[in-house]
């Protein structure tokens, strides 16, 4: 049984769906960040798979840049989260609405 590009794309779709479920279900902002990491990783898998099956290195390059962006996102996001937690004592998403729309 040969593993083709479709297998990897299906896997990537499943992981992306899991990440989206996490984003919609979670209230805690730290858990939301975890779900964001899952989304970025699922996209990286499909980039690497397409790069392999088309014999092109561009997909791997994009995966590297996605990893760099994920790392900087975590640094800035956690800094902001720590500041918010110092001031308000919680990181719940529902308590962050100041405009009461």
């Amino acid at each position: 049984m040969e593993i083709g590009l479709n297998h990897y794309l299906v896997l990537s779709t499943i992981l992306f769906a899991i990440g989206l479920v996490g984003i919609m279900r979670r209230k805690n902002l730290l858990m939301l960040f975890f779900a964001t990491e899952i989304l970025l990783n699922s996209v990286n898998i499909s980039f690497a798979a397409i790069s392999h099956y088309y014999g092109d290195l561009t997909g791997q390059m994009f995966a590297f840049f996605v990893i760099a962006i994920a790392a900087s996102e975590v640094a800035v996001g956690l800094g902001l989260l720590i500041v918010w937690h110092k001031r308000h004592g919680n990181i719940d998403l529902d308590l962050m609405s100041t405009m009461k729309g």
Partner: protein, 191 residues
């Protein structure tokens, strides 16, 4: 055959780990499940022949990003259970699956419809790390440098945001105390 066994095993493990990371109510379980999921994902990169990407995945995600998360979790109250949105779970799951499928279709349709050719074909007889280096430092040099500057900016932002007033706890102080500190600061700036 061997590849198929490895693929299905790691696919099952990755999906299980990420499912735990998304559904568990304990923050520490979510963190450890996410860490193991990241390591299992690097296995796919090794299967696909992207050795350097797999190594970077282990170093950056399991090393740096998850260490940062573990560090950040020390600031937050992680012992209590996490509250979750009480919505209709079928609607949530249905919408997620639908949008994930939509995203994949949007990105894959151009691949199938147009007969694309490799822009930077994989050279013969060179290791993956060498190929990555050759492409990264010729065609993608400017994005590489921009990414370096972006990481520097993120590092400075992290230090400025998290390192400010590390010696005093802003949660334990009352609003009046915080206000006096602020006023002292503005006085210092004005004088």
């Amino acid at each position: 055959m061997f590849e198929a066994i490895a693929f299905y095993m790691f696919a099952f493990l990755t999906i299980a780990m990420f499912y735990i990371a998304v559904t568990t109510s304990q923050a520490l379980y979510a963190l450890t499940a996410l860490a193991s999921g990241m390591i299992f994902i690097s296995a796919f990169y090794f299967i696909l022949g992207a050795d350097f990407l797999g190594a970077v995945q282990i170093v950056v995600y399991s090393g740096a990003v998850l260490a940062l998360y573990a560090f950040g979790m020390m600031f937050f109250d992680t012992t209590r259970d996490i509250k979750e949105k009480q919505g209709n779970r079928y609607v949530v799951i249905g919408l997620s699956v639908l949008s994930a499928l939509l995203v994949v279709v949007i990105f894959v349709t151009p691949l199938i419809s147009s007969n694309i050719t490799a822009l930077y074909p994989i050279a013969e007889g060179v290791g993956n790390t060498q190929q990555v280096g050759m492409v990264l430092f010729t065609k993608y040099l400017v994005p590489f440098e921009v990414a370096a500057i972006m990481l520097l900016v993120a590092m400075v932002a992290g230090i400025v945001l998290a390192g400010k007033k590390m010696d005093l706890s802003l949660t334990l102080m009352s609003d009046a105390e915080i206000r006096t500190i602020k006023e002292e600061k503005t006085k210092k700036v004005l004088s």
